[in-house]
């Protein structure tokens, strides 16, 4: 299919996540980095300006003023998204890709449910740990059902920003809920550990699942997991199995690891890379749909 042009997008919040998103957008065949906006003059704003990208310190107001922007990534905080950004974007008809734990819109894990969310005005990217583990939970659910799924996300201390540190419960609670809502586990539990080891560790996630139907052969479960892993790899190149699926009675366990692409953050920050890569995959899918619709209309 012929694609005419690109969809103009904005990034709200020029911190670590926002800057990394910017570099990923600059590489995208369908997204155009039309604005980086924050609420104060900052290093992130200067970095974007240095790359010739339009910048603003008026936050979401600068996004909604620009009629050409169709899509905005929000990398601020849950409260900023909920109180200011989400309502303003919604009013302006701009699709919001929410990287905060606010979850105003439905949770999105691209390889699991993106196709159902194509026309949502606001989608939430869950958490880094959720993006790394929910595909596996869902893969097991689709062949054997999941009674209980537990995940442990270990990330390097240096890749956990002040926002994560000040609100660990947001991670555990959001991830547990999304394991149930998107992964379809009857019960979900999430644990996060910050490891200060030097050199920093790559993000590592363990997934442990109690299956509902123990008559399903292990090979079927394993193949379903291997299949979803290759689907995640399509948009997260550094995603890989560290310990392949193991079965112990009714328990399936897997260890995955994410090496970041090193766009803005070091490669050990796989946690930030995977949530951003998932957000870009989501935005590109929605953008392609917009471009197709535009051609038709």
């Amino acid at each position: 299919m012929q694609q005419s042009g690109k969809i103009k997008v904005a990034v709200i919040g020029p911190g670590n996540i926002g800057s990394d998103l910017m570099y990923k957008i600059l590489r995208s065949p369908v997204l155009e980095m039309a604005l980086m906006t924050g609420i104060v003059e900052s290093e992130g704003i200067r970095r974007a300006a240095g790359l010739g990208i339009p910048v603003s310190t008026e936050g979401v107001a600068a996004v909604v003023r620009n009629p050409e922007i169709k899509l905005a990534f929000d990398a601020t905080s849950a409260s900023a998204h909920e109180k200011f950004d989400a309502p303003a974007l919604s009013k302006a008809g701009i699709v919001a890709i929410d990287l905060t734990p606010a979850a105003v819109g439905p949770y999105c894990v691209p390889c699991v449910n993106l196709e159902q969310l194509m026309h949502e005005p606001n989608v939430n990217m869950v958490t880094c740990g959720g993006q790394a583990t929910i595909p596996i939970v869902h893969a097991v659910h689709s062949v054997a059902g999941v009674e209980y799924a537990e995940i442990v996300a270990a990330i390097a201390s240096r890749s956990a920003g002040p926002g994560t540190r000040a609100n660990m419960d947001e991670f555990t609670e959001t991830t547990s809920r999304a394991i149930e809502v998107v992964g379809k586990a009857k019960k979900g539990k999430a644990i996060i550990v910050l490891n200060p080891a030097e050199p920093p560790i790559n993000m590592t996630d363990t997934v442990m699942i109690r299956v509902s139907d123990t008559s399903v052969p292990f090979e079927t479960i394993r193949d379903s997991i291997l299949d979803i892993v290759s689907q995640v790899q399509l948009y997260v190149p550094g995603y890989r199995l560290r310990v392949p699926p193991q079965m112990d009675g009714d328990k399936v366990s897997v260890v995955v690891q994410v090496e970041g692409q090193g766009d803005f953050l070091p490669t050990f920050a796989g946690n930030l890379d995977i949530i951003n890569a998932a957000a870009i995959a989501t935005a590109e899918r929605i953008a392609r749909n917009m471009l197709k619709g535009g051609a038709k209309g």
Binding site: E150, V152, A154, S157, P162, R165, A166, N167, M168, D169, F171, T172, E173, K189, I191, I192, V193, L194, N195, P196, A197, T204, T206, M208, R242, V243, Q246, K251, S253, V255
Partner: protein, 338 residues
């Protein structure tokens, strides 16, 4: 020695939970808590070994609902306060609320020694709920005294009522304990406590060293029940402090009886320093890993010692029990190739 009164904090029903693979029943909990109350313990900690929310595949499932155990202990005490442990990232504020409703009035918020800032949210919430809040720093052997003091100051600024330093790997020697307690005491205005593990057979000696350096809260367990080679043995500490002429208000004979009559019969294995627990102290590995390492060694046909050394090399910290499988799998794969 400080002028502050010495408080012995019992953690048989929390750290001791590791040693019985989190199998404490409501009846066992009531019996132990009632004895501890009678023997004059001011604070009794009751939780899954890894704190609120710890019941899981990763750390082991509790045999009974952990909140019903807190409730059972709270019912049989009048003077003693019931404490719970909470590791941010595992337990949540909603768990803390639930524990409060079950009768807990002290929460010890534990982080790895370099990560005190993840406790701000929980210490703040604890104070708002009317809890006595304790800032609990784990694996203190991994950091120099001055840097530990900086972390302790953060917890003090969030509202902690005292700071507890935990030698979670049982790796410290008495002079290293002294240096750490002194550095933290010099940095904060609130009291300081100490939590030992007996992996190098130094739990009582290290506790004495902490008291000499001014610690006023000391953790101990009946029979020494706890992760790795266990904790400071409560009845022994009580006798030693009496010999030293330090007032504790504890009933020495009562504790010996409780240990013999109530705790000994429910132990799964004797609380001794076996090869594995000695290696924990020697290699500086989190004590709660021990039983998980034994399980993984059996599954992958490895020597527990080899797994422990590799875990130490990878600098795995408290809470990373899940990755013991990763280490064992990698070692087993390497062996197959060789």
């Amino acid at each position: 020695m400080s002028n502050q009164k010495l408080n012995i904090v019992d953690t048989t029903l929390r750290d001791g939970s590791h040693a019985v693979r989190h199998s404490f029943s409501v009846k066992q909990t009531s019996d132990i808590a009632a004895r501890l109350e009678k023997c004059g313990l001011p604070i009794i900690e009751v939780s899954h070994g890894d704190g609120l929310g710890g019941s899981s595949y990763t750390y082991g499932f509790s045999k009974e609902d952990p909140f019903s155990l807190i409730e059972a202990a709270a019912k049989v005490v009048s003077r003693a306060k019931i404490a719970v442990l909470l590791l941010p990232g595992i337990g949540t504020i909603s768990d803390m609320k639930h524990a409060k409703d079950c009768g807990a009035s002290v929460v010890r918020v534990a982080t790895h020694v370099t990560e005190a800032d993840v406790s701000a949210q929980h210490i703040n919430a604890a104070k708002q709920m009317g809890y006595m809040a304790v800032g609990f720093l784990m694996m203190v052997h991994m950091l120099e005294p001055e840097k530990i003091a900086e972390q302790a100051k953060k917890m003090e600024s969030y509202g902690a009522d005292y700071i507890n330093l935990a030698d979670s790997a049982g790796a410290l020697l008495p002079d290293q304990v002294k240096a750490r307690i002194e550095a933290v005491r010099a940095a904060v205005k609130i009291p300081v406590g100490f939590h030992a593990h007996n992996n190098l057979s130094l739990a009582v000696a290290n506790s004495l060293s902490a008291i000499d350096a001014g610690a006023s809260y000391i953790d101990a367990t009946l029979r020494g029940l706890g992760a790795g080679a266990g904790n400071t043995q409560l009845e022994v500490l009580s006798g030693v402090l009496e010999r030293k002429g330090i007032e504790t208000g504890l009933d020495f004979y009562g504790l010996i009886d409780a240990s013999e009559q109530v705790v000994a019969p429910i132990m799964l294995r004797p609380q001794v320093i076996d090869g594995g627990s000695l290696m924990l102290g020697y290699a500086g590995v989190y004590s709660s890993f021990l039983l998980h390492v034994y399980t993984a060694a059996e599954k992958f046909h490895l020597e527990p010692r080899d797994i422990l050394v590799e875990v130490g090399k990878r600098k795995m910290i408290g809470g990373q029990e899940d990755l013991i499988i990763d280490v064992a799998y990698t070692l087993a794969k390497g062996k197959q190739r060789g």
